[in-house]
Symmetry: C2
Subunit: 346 residues, 2 copies
């Protein structure tokens, strides 16, 4: 299979996406990889797989490569004698954060009829926003961590007990996130968060909470990863958090009961199906007082959480054959014909 | 001002969008209009303003016009000697239903840095889906009509009293909508609705409910339309409903108290700001037992509800100067440089 990896984007996680994309070379060994870079200015470039290393991008040298344009059916390189289509079977959206996770890349792929692995537009818009994720989960009967929502112009008053964690609703990483130990620290933490977003959610900060990650997708059957208990420190900074993005070695399953695993997987399936069909996502759960709570949805996890799956490459191949189909809409101009008839113009 | 009107799209309301677009010629008399047609196959065409009539599209003759491609900064006509940018100040998204209202056009405009009047991606995704509209309104403290949500695989059981109205969650028109008078009719109505969508909402059908429409936008100040009491029959079919799309004559304000008007406008502002900035939307409210309930959000109302505004054209000009700005993200490759240093490669 020839997989086009879309990476980069106008995102705080642009560099992380480059790391994820490079990691794919080690993970997808049987496939042909076609690398398409979306630079910070949102121009498309075809990158030689051999040249895929971080310096190509940080040096700006990628600009010497072939620039591409997006048209119906694919990406095209313009040349002297017309434009030439870049050949691939399926695009893999590996743009973390804005553009990739907010629904823009999904919109582009769907509009231009390019088969793609990624959450679709609606799934992206809902999971990119932590507040909307709460709405979604509640509606599906999946419990989430308690929260309060504050908008930039709201009174800065919260009713839950400290310590709390403040999160801008729309950023896919830890940027703008603070732990607030007492009321004195609240104002500053909100100033920081509102620098990045018009809205924040406030959640109780639970020291040492049990966290479990479940990734997976639906191909012709459910393909669920092992459940991982991520190693973590009290609070991960940007750099530490994203060492994750270069991971390619298998990890061990969390040491949990079958019953808990079952509950985590049931919650995952509720979130995933049908909204996230066509994508590989990771859901991060907390277990608090024996309740499974959704912490967040990672619609495009670092290096696609490949290290949680026994056969990641095979799964992508199967997924590419089970992508959701857009409903065909036939335009027959019956309505306009009937107006024309009524006006005596037909 | 030179306004590019985007219309058509791969949508059940493709033809309606053509009617809306033609109506704009009568409404926007002082502006230069640049018509960009998105055909049912999602190819872009530049249409001469003089040739704008419905037959051009129903006959397929539009295909003889200039085809356009979308690139960074605008639409381009490809020619013998390179590509030429189509000149305009702002794009007006007039694609009703799929593509226009679901967030795809907003994604395209934002991605390619084209200034545009339309709900943005997130606002589109939420208002295009009637279930998500409920979540949004409830969170903002705007009451909505009571509802139940059914997915395709759910047990077909509802708990509210008949008659009810069944609506597919994602269609922007009356397609797939049924009034169900008793339990015997439920199954068939759900069959119809699930033909169009994986999810439906069920609401009480309130005969003769008082309905009021409020349109508006935020430029440098609030610009709210008159409140209209739409004339309606028990149930509008597709054709009748969309005679609306060719309206260009002013209508009269509803005969309601200042106090009720105030409550409707307060609810409108809560919904609009900040999510819908950059767009002109219409909210349809019911008044039931003296309560103002949001019925639905029309993110791209027919002919933009021009007939509700005293100075529609001036308002669009002001709105085009008050469009939300996307946050600039600076990519400095600091993270990649630090990895390179750590590896001794820098």
């Amino acid at each position: 299979m020839n997989i086009a990896i879309l990476f980069g984007g106008s995102s705080y996680e642009h560099e992380i996406s480059i790391v994820s994309a490079i990691t794919m070379k080690k993970v997808l060994k049987k496939s042909t990889l076609t690398y398409i870079f979306v630079d910070a200015n949102r121009e498309f470039y075809l990158i030689d797989t051999d040249k895929m290393n971080s310096k190509l991008f940080s040096s700006g040298e990628y600009k010497k490569g072939k620039s591409l344009i997006l048209k119906k059916g694919g990406f095209f390189a313009e040349g002297m004698f017309g434009s030439k289509k870049v050949d691939f079977d399926v695009a893999l959206n590996l743009i973390h954060g804005r553009d990739g996770e907010d629904g823009k890349i999904a919109s582009l792929m769907e509009f231009f009829a390019i088969p793609f692995i990624s959450p679709r537009l609606e799934a992206s818009a809902l999971s990119y926003n932590k507040l909307y994720t709460k709405f979604l989960a509640e509606n599906l009967g999946v419990k989430t961590v308690a929260y309060e929502h504050l908008s930039r112009d709201d009174e800065r008053k919260i009713s839950m007990a400290y310590p709390v964690i403040i999160k801008p609703v729309r950023l896919g990483s830890s940027i703008g996130v603070s732990i607030v130990k007492n009321a004195d620290e609240l104002d500053y933490a909100l100033d920081v968060a509102f620098e990045f977003d018009s809205d924040v959610i406030v959640e109780p900060f639970i020291e040492g909470v049990k966290e479990y990650n479940q990734a997976g997708c639906l191909t012709d059957a459910w393909e669920l990863s092992i459940v991982e208990e991520p190693q973590k420190e009290a609070f991960l900074d940007f750099e530490k958090k994203y060492m994750d993005f270069s991971r390619d070695a298998q990890v061990l399953s969390a040491d949990i009961s079958d019953e808990l695993k079952e509950r985590i997987q049931t919650a995952f399936k509720k979130i995933y199906d049908p909204l996230f069909r066509g994508s590989v996502i990771r859901c991060d759960f907390f277990v608090v007082e024996d309740e499974v709570l959704l912490n967040e949805i990672n619609p495009i996890p670092g290096s696609m959480a490949n290290y949680l799956f026994p056969d990641f490459e095979g799964m992508l191949t199967r997924l590419s054959k089970a992508l959701p189909k857009e409903k065909k809409i036939q335009v027959d101009y019956a309505y306009i014909h009937s107006i024309q008839s009524a006006k005596g113009k037909a």
